[in-house]
Symmetry: C2
DNA sequence: CCGGATCCAGTGGGATACTG
DNA sequence: CAGTATCCCACTGGATCCGG
């Protein structure tokens, strides 16, 4: 597959305009579909250190509704980032854990989180400067 | 700032449930607000190799509407990832380029794109397997 | 305990037409 | 050329109730 080295391709383009192939755009969409929503990253991060039950996830992630937790879990499971194991006991118990694929995404996603932690102060300053500038003039 | 090492914190937690601080959740939101939408990453990637004009961006990014291009550009500019330079000529010319901050995000974001390029085949297989399984039984 | 079903408000984002 | 303004629809995501 030609898109293995997106970075190299983009930087090699000589002209002023690095045209995206539709493939590349699709890849971006794909990854955004995985982690671009409100809760996926939180769930993946929570599962980083080991399996967790549904109610543990609900407790660990502040503000998530049952609906969105269920939905996002299913979403991640569908893409193979999460494995779901239901134990047919009474009361029922369900465990979620990261797959190998999920763990590989974890490191990348945490890199993003670290970037945000490193730079959020500057981002806020920029916001305020921008808003102030547009408001003044 | 305490959240510099999100990864370390998450992995160090001994229990089954790594509770997110609200701070961490906020950081995630912040970064998703930056790159979680449909066009930001494409724009950042297009600007990777140098400045580009509005119309060049429009041409380079297939499927983007004027509205969304303008909106996303302003969004990225507000956060300080992009710089906008308008030349008061006739006809008007406007150039967008990545700031240092934007370039620092670029590498992280391209890592995501590479992950997606590497794993999208497996992701698709998982999707189909999942859909098939749920459809069968 | 887990999560499906339903209802509903807010918003993301496309198409189109217009302006400086 | 480089946007802005408006309409509109589909989807996201929260609250709540219900079922296994």
């Amino acid at each position: 597959m030609a898109a293995k080295n997106v970075r190299a391709r983009v930087r090699d383009v000589p002209g002023p305009c690095a045209r995206w192939g539709d493939d590349d755009a699709d890849f971006i969409r794909e990854v955004l579909d995985l982690v671009g929503d409100k809760w996926s990253v939180l769930i993946i991060g929570t599962l980083a250190d080991g399996p967790a039950r549904y109610s543990e996830l609900a407790a660990a992630i502040p503000g998530v509704s049952q609906r969105m937790l269920t939905l996002t879990l299913k979403h991640l499971q569908r893409y193979g980032l999460l494995a779901r194991t239901a134990y047919p006991e009474v009361p029922p118990r369900v465990e979620y854990r990261l797959t190998v694929l999920g763990r590989s995404l974890l490191s990348t996603v945490l890199a993003l989180a670290e970037w945000s932690a490193d730079n959020h102060a500057e981002v806020r300053r920029n916001q305020e400067a921008f808003d102030g500038a547009t408001a003044v003039d």
